[in-house]
Symmetry: C2
């Protein structure tokens, strides 16, 4: 669909909020969904993927791709610092 993307950005909300968002997206016609997180939220992204895959959509989705990278974040004072990122793509079988 035009203007729609399949990304879900993982932040500091409760894990189940994101699980619900992923399950909803995959149940509404998308055949994949990409979880994106950085810094401390990376662990949460893995939790979301595992809960969807092992509990809510068992035998329906699989982990299609996992990529890690780094981003430069601007800090006060003009400095930058590097933050790790992850992208986990879940796909319907």
């Amino acid at each position: 669909m035009s203007g729609r993307d399949n990304n879900i950005y993982i932040g500091r909300k409760p894990v189940m909020n994101y699980v619900l968002a992923v399950v909803t997206q995959l149940n509404q016609g998308s055949d994949f969904c990409t979880l994106k997180a950085r810094g401390r939220s990376i662990s949460t992204a893995v939790d979301v993927a595992e809960i969807v895959r092992q509990r809510f959509m068992k035998d329906i989705v699989f982990v299609d791709k996992i990529e890690i990278d780094s981003e430069e974040l601007a800090e006060e004072g003009g400095r930058t610092r590097s933050v790790s990122t992850i992208e986990i793509t879940l796909k319907k079988k």
Copy 2:
């Protein structure tokens, strides 16, 4: 070498301790190294991989494989709870 494995377990020590362990292992003849972490340490494992790959061994190593899974941990009282895990394999080019 007999009895030796290529796993490095990521816990709560400072990130640079693990970076040093990975760099040392890869410089001492191993052509790959697998970082293993669970729970909140997953973010640290990604940090370690990124720092090795982008800063200390740039153009020398690449991310060969990333796998996520879950483990059951026994808790007091006989209950179990699920914890997410990650394995990141860095390989020399």
